[in-house]
């Protein structure tokens, strides 16, 4: 291997033609990656980090659309002036690439094994097909796909996102490349799967000795792997340095913004006012929601959940995607019907209510939705959207008509003068405020917040979270908060419930659950949240293993046992009940609750 850098980018300029007008997206980027080094290329979306790497490897569209200038030396050869044949022999053989979205990055009509084998066959004409397939299965085994030989006939749509991303990594390292490029490899994945994939990437890098470029907007992710950091903003590199130094003393404002956007579970939580132990406004008892799939299977989305929400408090509900938390919320709101169990609103069961009575009950229960784009009717003005619940309830006049709408908009920090506009003219943050105003129109007591900030820009998230806190204080609202961002849940919640495969596994105050997690699932969930500090990387023994099981066919006994690192022979036999531990109001459903508190931070 040469002593110089593996990849050396000099004065890279990329121009796109957008609607006939040329726009420069990368303005003269210089980068060096030494052998064996891992470079973290970080920046907000649109900062040009992905374009930089695609331009360097010749994967951008052809000239009229897009022009690239500069030099990109791989060893001593310039990738930008190389003829197409040579460039093709470099791609996949000397440079391996992993892309963002594993759901779309594999060809849907070819078997996964064949796609991995193709990476080998393309660069070795002499290789027999059967040999390549066997080697592909070995590679899949190496990146942690369970029993790849048995799944040789599978197509990508039969695999989970995590497994597909493993297949992408297997493809990228198939020819032991000198350079491994991973472009937002975990952005589309759950935090637990993200932790697994980052471990696979680390092992892949260590196994091949490849120099690695990890592109991401998440400084928590980059801290897990990178030796050196380059921060990009608006098409330029604004800061570079060893990872430890950049994290300890970020120099550029952009770096500081990126750093502040990372959820910090290692820092103290935001203070909450003393929890009021008022009467329960909402009580969920043994709630069960099952769905029938088209294949006539029963998905046990919610499978016996009990919850209690007091007036003025926030209950945070956390868990991986597919654990049933959204189904639970939709059942509470009667958007889907419960299979059994009850939902009591101020003591009245609402699961059986119909027609007019249901509509009256619904007034004290409302919801803020995840997607600010899909949650507002594009053909109604903002004023109509906010007024709709009032009109439906026949209280538009009584509540003051247009004045009430103006007050609501004012309450959420929007100019009431904008009521005549259509939602299309507002930003994501503003739209989410409109959604909140609509939810407040009938002065509800309980608000269900389903991922209320996850679709928003990082900078806007904090503002909307602050607004929600303020409204709760001023109006005495009770929140049922569903979010995958554990730091947000910690900051906004009084109590927390952890859900896994349709069941609650742990509940308690936020200090109990976050400070002294007892269930192995809670512990692995918390451990999987990356800390943006290179000195504080994942602790492997806490990682959950594998994918969540199929909710239509959950494991017997404890449902988490298939991924649990401390499972014993008893676990498949006994269904663990939520029982109080230590503090009395800290409940955990595990026969081996951990006694040792989870350690975070250096």
């Amino acid at each position: 291997m040469t002593a110089g850098p593996v990849l050396s980018v000099r004065d890279l300029v990329v121009r796109f033609r957008v609607h006939g007008r040329p726009t420069t997206v990368v303005h003269g980027v210089d980068l060096d990656i030494s052998p064996g080094e891992t470079l973290g290329l970080v920046g907000e979306s649109g900062s040009g980090k992905t374009v930089t790497v695609l331009a360097a490897t010749g994967l951008l569209p052809a000239p009229p659309v897009c022009t690239v200038r500069g030099t990109v030396l791989l060893g001593s050869r310039d990738l930008l002036t190389m003829d197409r044949r040579t460039l093709r022999s470099v791609r996949g053989r000397e440079i391996g690439m992993v892309f963002q979205d594993p759901m779309t990055s594999l060809h849907p009509s070819f078997r996964v094994v064949d796609q991995v084998a193709e990476a080998l066959l393309v660069h070795d004409r002499a290789l027999a097909r059967g040999v390549a397939c066997r080697r592909a299965i070995e590679l899949l085994e190496q990146v942690g796909v369970p029993h790849p030989g048995r799944r040789a006939g599978d197509y990508p749509h039969q695999w989970s996102g995590g497994m597909r991303q493993r297949a992408m990594i297997a493809m990228a390292i198939a020819n032991r490349p000198r350079l491994l490029v991973a472009d937002e490899p975990t952005t589309a994945l759950d935090v637990t799967i993200q932790a697994q994939i980052l471990e696979v990437l680390r092992a892949a890098r260590d196994g091949t000795g490849a120099a690695t470029v990890l592109i991401t907007h998440d400084l928590g992710v980059v801290a897990q792997l990178a030796d050196r950091i380059a921060v990009m903003s608006a098409g330029r590199i604004v800061e570079t340095g060893p990872a430890v130094e950049v994290f300890a003393a970020p120099g550029h404002p952009c770096t500081r913004i990126l750093l502040s956007a990372v959820p910090r579970l290692d820092r103290p939580a935001a203070p909450r006012p003393e929890p009021v132990r008022g009467p329960a406004v909402l009580e969920v008892r043994d709630l069960v929601t099952h769905y029938r799939t088209p294949g006539d299977r029963t998905v046990r989305a919610v499978d016996g959940v009990s919850l209690r929400l007091a007036a003025g408090e926030t209950l945070g509900l956390v868990g991986e995607s597919g654990c049933g938390k959204t189904s639970l919320a939709r059942t509470v709101l009667r958007l889907v019907d419960a299979t059994s169990g009850s939902v009591l609103l101020r003591g009245t069961d609402i699961t059986q209510a119909r027609g007019r009575r249901l509509r009256v009950i619904r007034r004290s229960l409302s919801m803020v939705f995840q997607d600010p784009y899909s949650s507002l009717n594009p053909r109604m003005t903002v004023g109509e959207i906010v007024a709709q619940p009032l009109r439906v309830a026949g209280r538009f006049r009584a509540e003051g008509g247009a004045r009430r709408v103006a007050d609501l908009l004012d309450l959420v920090g929007l100019d009431p003068g904008l009521a005549a506009r259509l939602p299309g003219q507002f930003s994501g943050g503003q739209r989410q405020r409109i959604g909140i105003a609509r939810a407040l129109a009938l002065s509800p007591e309980v608000l269900v917040l389903d991922e209320p900030v996850s679709s928003l820009d990082v900078t806007v998230r904090a503002q909307v979270a602050d607004l929600l806190s303020r409204l709760q204080r001023e109006l005495g609202l009770a929140y049922l908060l569903i979010a995958h961002d554990l730091a947000l849940v910690r900051d906004l919640s009084d109590r927390v419930a952890v859900m896994y495969l349709g069941r609650l596994v742990e509940t308690g105050t936020r200090d109990q659950v976050f400070g002294h997690p007892m269930h192995p699932y809670t512990r692995s969930l918390l451990a999987a949240v990356p800390v943006p500090d290179p000195r504080c990387r994942y602790s492997v023994p806490l990682m959950p293993t594998g994918d969540p099981p199929d909710p239509a066919d959950p494991p017997s006994g404890c449902r988490f046992r298939t991924r649990c690192r401390i499972a014993t022979a008893e676990c498949p036999e006994v269904v663990p009940e939520l029982v109080p531990r230590a503090g009395g109001d800290h409940f955990c459903a595990c026969i081996h609750p951990a006694e040792i508190p989870l350690r975070r931070g250096p």
Binding site: L59, P64, S109, A119, H123
Partner: protein, 321 residues
């Protein structure tokens, strides 16, 4: 769409055929005007009318006629032509080869040429060859078939004199073997060109858009990043799914081609089913019209079914859905 869908489509087939049969039968028999009068003229005597009625089974009640007709159709008997006085099946069988030759060659030609043009345009996206292909296709697609036929005759037959104006063979020649085949091919060229051009345009547009969409997909970037050659990326990775929109309309295209054939046969005097149909309509020859309609409808229904099967083969997500 999944297996159950396909099974359902198969089960639907006889139902659709029955519906077609019923629709056609009712249409013809509820139409104003009496075929017997059309056949024998206004002044025929009542006895002759009754004789004709009995001969063609028209004296029985409508439901009985329908049952008899359906039974006959299932056993391959499409009835007897009022005008030609011979079995409908025979008359159709005589004309069928010419139409199959015409539509078949147009189908093959439009698929091959259309897809090639689509690939040609998509791989030069945004540059002038792409624009030229796209605009030409758009224009040709909007042109009525008879206009193309007439222009082709004006230009290549009457103008340049390279091809015959009409017919399927040179009437005077009685040659057989290869020279006869060449003679037919010479006569076929212009009608096939006229019939296929609109289809070429449609297929070219669909495959161009399909390929452009597909080349933008993430998995194409993955293939390129693996080092797969560009030609292989297009042929192996992109084309398979890019042609799904082309496959989707395959059933419809068969119907379109047969309809176009009726026009083209009129323009070029091609002795196929279209001519038979138009003549039969002028003579109010119900059995022939119904027979041709039935044949076309069943062909289109079967073509649609095959399209669905082909679709599920191209997209495993459908197969395992």
């Amino acid at each position: 769409m999944n297996r159950r869908y396909l099974v359902r489509r198969l089960a639907q087939l006889p139902l659709t055929v029955a519906a077609i049969l019923l629709a056609g039968f009712l249409l013809i028999h509820l139409a104003p005007g009496d075929p017997v009068v059309a056949l024998a003229g206004q002044s025929g005597d009542a006895e002759y009318y009754a004789y004709l009625r009995a001969k063609f089974g028209l004296d029985k009640p409508l439901p009985t006629q329908l049952v008899i007709y359906a039974g006959n159709v299932l056993s391959g008997d499409l009835g007897t032509s009022y005008v030609l006085g011979r079995p409908v099946a025979e008359a159709i069988a005589e004309r069928l080869p010419a139409t199959v030759l015409l539509t078949g060659s147009a189908l093959v030609l439009s698929t091959v040429v259309g897809i090639s043009l689509g690939i040609y345009g998509a791989r030069r996206h945004g540059r002038w060859p792409d624009t030229a292909v796209n605009l030409t296709a758009l224009t040709v697609y909007a042109a009525p078939v008879f206009l193309i036929g007439q222009l082709v005759i004006l230009g290549l037959a009457l103008g340049a004199g390279w091809f015959p104006v009409e017919g399927m063979t040179d009437a005077r020649s009685s040659v057989t073997g290869l020279p006869r085949l060449l003679d037919i091919a010479h006569h076929l060229a212009l009608p096939a060109l006229a019939l296929t051009s609109q289809e070429v345009a449609a297929v070219a547009r669909l495959s161009r858009v399909g390929l452009l969409d597909e080349l933008r997909q993430d998995h194409i970037r993955t293939a390129r990043a693996k080092g797969v050659a560009e030609g292989v990326v297009v042929r192996k990775h992109a084309l398979r799914r890019a042609l799904l929109p082309v496959v989707t309309v395959l059933g419809g295209r068969v119907g379109h081609l047969v309809a176009g054939a009726v026009i083209v046969e009129a323009v070029f005097g091609w002795p196929g089913l279209g001519r038979l149909l138009v003549t039969a309509m002028q003579n109010r020859d119900g059995p022939i019209v119904l027979g041709v309609f039935l044949l076309v409808a069943v062909t289109v229904v079967v073509a649609n079914l095959l399209t669905d099967l082909l679709y599920s083969w191209l997209d495993p997500r459908v197969r395992y859905g």
